[in-house]
Subunit: 65 residues, 6 copies
C-alpha cells in the first residue's frame, strides 16, 4: 500500500505520467511514510464523453468557445 | 464532491450518457444537497469480457439464446 | 451491471440515500436500458479530512467563514 | 454485493478471465457467504504506461533486461 | 499489479477475509500469471445503508421477512 | 477532473494528508496541466484487516517481529 488511482480525460503523454508518478510516489514516501516498493499508481484515461463536471460532459464543455 | 463512478459494459451513446449525467447530478443536488459545480460523474465503459455477473462473463451470457 | 459508486463527505441520512438510489437507478433503467435487478449503487462516506478539492481538505474549507 | 474490481496491465485472454471469475466468485460464496447471483466482477485492463509500481511505469520496467 | 478491490456490506470476520485473500491471490497467480509480491487485495466494508441492489438499500432488504 | 483516490491502511494524521494533497495537486497542475479547481483527492483509510499484500493481511504482517 498505498494504491493511488488517477481518473481523468485522456490526453497526457507517457512522459507526463512518468513525472506525475515520481512526484506522487515521493510525496507518499516523504509525507505519508509509505514504503516505496508497495506504492502502486494507476491512470484511468477516459474519453471526453465519459467525464462530466457540474452536469456537463467534458466533450460538451469543449464546444464552448 | 461528490464523485460518481458508473461502471458497465460499453454500448451507450454520448446522448444517453448526457441524459444520465443530468439526472444523476440533479438527484444529488436535490436529495443530497451537493453543490452542482463540485459534482463529477465518470463512466467506465468495459468490454463484455471484462464484466461478470454470478460467475459468468457478460460476453458468455450473450451466447445464450 | 452497472455498478455506481458515490464518494463524498459523510453527512446524508439513510432517507436521503434511499431517494438518491431510487432516482439514480431509475435514470439508468430509463436512459441507459440497464436491467434494474443488476444495478448496484454504493455510497462511500468519508470524513471531512479525507476529501480535498482544489488542494484543500473539506475539513479546512469549513474553517472559512 | 459484493463487487470485485481487478485492475492490472492488459494482456490476459478472455479464457484466463473466465477462470479467474469462477474462482473468485466461488471463494466469495464459500468463504464469505455471498449470494452468487449478486456477485459482480470487473476487470480494468490498463496499458503498461498507466500502471506504476515503486515509482516506475510498468512500460519502463519492461525495458530492463 | 494487480489491485483487487472487494466492496460489500460489512459483516465478515478477519478469518473469512484471510481465506478470501489467499484464494483470490492464488487464482491470480495460477490463472493470470500475476507475481504474488505485487498483488494487493483491499476490502471496502460498507454499512447496510450504503449498498443498494435493484434500487433498494440492503438495510431495507433486511426488513423483509 | 482529475479525481485521485488514495487507498491505504489508516494511521496518517490530517496534517500528513494536508501535505500529500498539496503535493499531489501541485504535481497534477504542473506536470499534467490539470486545472486546480477541478482536482479532487480522496483518502480511503482502511483497517489493517482490510488490506492485503502478497496474500497476507497487513494485520498479520504486523505480527511478524
Amino acid at each position: 500500500m498505498p494504491h493511488v488511482q488517477i481518473t481523468w480525460v485522456a490526453g497526457r503523454s507517457a512522459e507526463q505520467k512518468r513525472k506525475i508518478v515520481e512526484r506522487v510516489t515521493q510525496a507518499l514516501v516523504e509525507e505519508g511514510r509509505a514504503k516505496i516498493e508497495n506504492i502502486h499508481v494507476t491512470f484511468n484515461d477516459l474519453p471526453a464523453t465519459d467525464y462530466a463536471e457540474a452536469g456537463v460532459l467534458v466533450a460538451d464543455q469543449k464546444r464552448a468557445p
